[in-house]
Symmetry: C2
Subunit: 307 residues, 2 copies
Amino acid sequence: MRRKFQVHILGSSAATPTSLRHTTSQVLAYNNKYFLLDCGEGTQMQMRRLKLPMMKIDHIFISHLHGDHYLGLPGLLFSLHLLGRKKDLHVYAPAGMQQIIEVQFTLSQLVPMYKVTFHELTAGGQQIYEDRYLTVETMEMEHRIQAFGFLIKEKEMNRNLRKESILKYKIPREQMAAIKDGADLLRSGGKTIPNHEITEAPPPPRSYAFCSDTSYTEKFLNQIKGADLLYHEATFLHDKAAIAAEKTHSTTIEAATLAQKAGVKQLLLGHYSARYNDLELFTEEARQVFPNTLLAEEGKVIKVGEE
Amino acid sequence: MRRKFQVHILGSSAATPTSLRHTTSQVLAYNNKYFLLDCGEGTQMQMRRLKLPMMKIDHIFISHLHGDHYLGLPGLLFSLHLLGRKKDLHVYAPAGMQQIIEVQFTLSQLVPMYKVTFHELTAGGQQIYEDRYLTVETMEMEHRIQAFGFLIKEKEMNRNLRKESILKYKIPREQMAAIKDGADLLRSGGKTIPNHEITEAPPPPRSYAFCSDTSYTEKFLNQIKGADLLYHEATFLHDKAAIAAEKTHSTTIEAATLAQKAGVKQLLLGHYSARYNDLELFTEEARQVFPNTLLAEEGKVIKVGEE
């Protein structure tokens, strides 16, 4: 069984919420860890409604300082304090996020019981997070203000020992770790069995690229090549391409074109302008260019690497 | 027909929202005007859901700078800009609100298309708003940080001319305004008809007192005497009176006691701790002291002065 790697959609609306759609926020669940990607107004309520464990979020990534991507953060941080959090929390965001949060903690005369570390994002695609299984790197969006995407990549796994080889060669426990790392099996008498005969390749590492907000750009095309899942904003249908460009947003066709050029496996659209009620048109248009396209919708869960 | 004077409940939860309850926010609708009392996270979504006209809000009153009472304000102000508002907006709030808003407008590189005037609330009960029909004055709450209540009072109306007197005395149009103001009717030959014989008293002016957050205090008792509707926070049931006092909040019995001492006509409870699911207990307890007690609940509309 592969480790859990899935995206929960908390909000899919651009700029202003509608009566049905929240602004941008996603929870990425990997194994038993939870990451937050953007935090629009009402994110803490959405986490409660969708039964996502607020207290298990240790890392929050904020793409840019437009309200629809961060306005839920102060409330979430206040609530974590009120709920008794003690564990450190990390916020990765453009310069200014710390000031927005700290002025509010100061004015409410509240000293959080847990430590918040702000990691200021800087230009250029950079690795900003690493743990045993994952890395997160930034991508540079093309937007009215500095904006970042986030590429979450599973690390290359070790090779797996074949069960039948363990039995056949009676592989000693003390050699197993080295063999998984690529070493050959050393047998008594100085003989060796080549690694590839006793191991098999691990499943290919999976990746999720979160790209919002941006106009059409190929600046980060190399980073997202072959990604399992690409979330790309599609604020407008393609007849509004001129408005999209003017507002530094993208259309369905533009998102799909990038997905196709990058050879990703699946495309997830979101960040729909409040003017649209019928989202079916978004998939219809995008699928003309890139058939494997899904819609981000509140409450939906998408498994990365499973089509 | 009397002018519309009603309170719409947008949020009734204390401190942290629950999956069903939003944090504090109320819309006061008077005649064709709309006022916002507090603005917890998600207020703009609640206004959409409850079909309240966001663009018609010209005056926003913020009781204090705890997140559950103002976190929806930045998003509301951003949205008003995005929706094309041009009309001036007034925000009445404790010192610091302006800084919280302005740092966010600056960092998002957004210059609102409308003017926001911040009116800084200062200690002591003071009149902060007046129009043709209403005044709003502050009340001093007793809370961990400086907090204000708001007393919305209808002005004393002019006396009404009795229809039968108009006919009987053939009251000339040019005297009517003076008579409504209290003058006697001047007749030819120097005779007068006393005002009270030709006019009748207007209906008594109505008032709404919004008191949140506060521990039990009689500091503003004189201001709310005889109010038609008193909203008073009741964060806890009365078995938690010690916790309420420690956190500078109130219980059901405390809210009801104040309502009873002030001789108000109706009590509206709200600001319930997230720990409570069953709110029936709140009315049960309060009604032991003050029978005419209602619960604030999302979507409810309460007419001021109608029991």
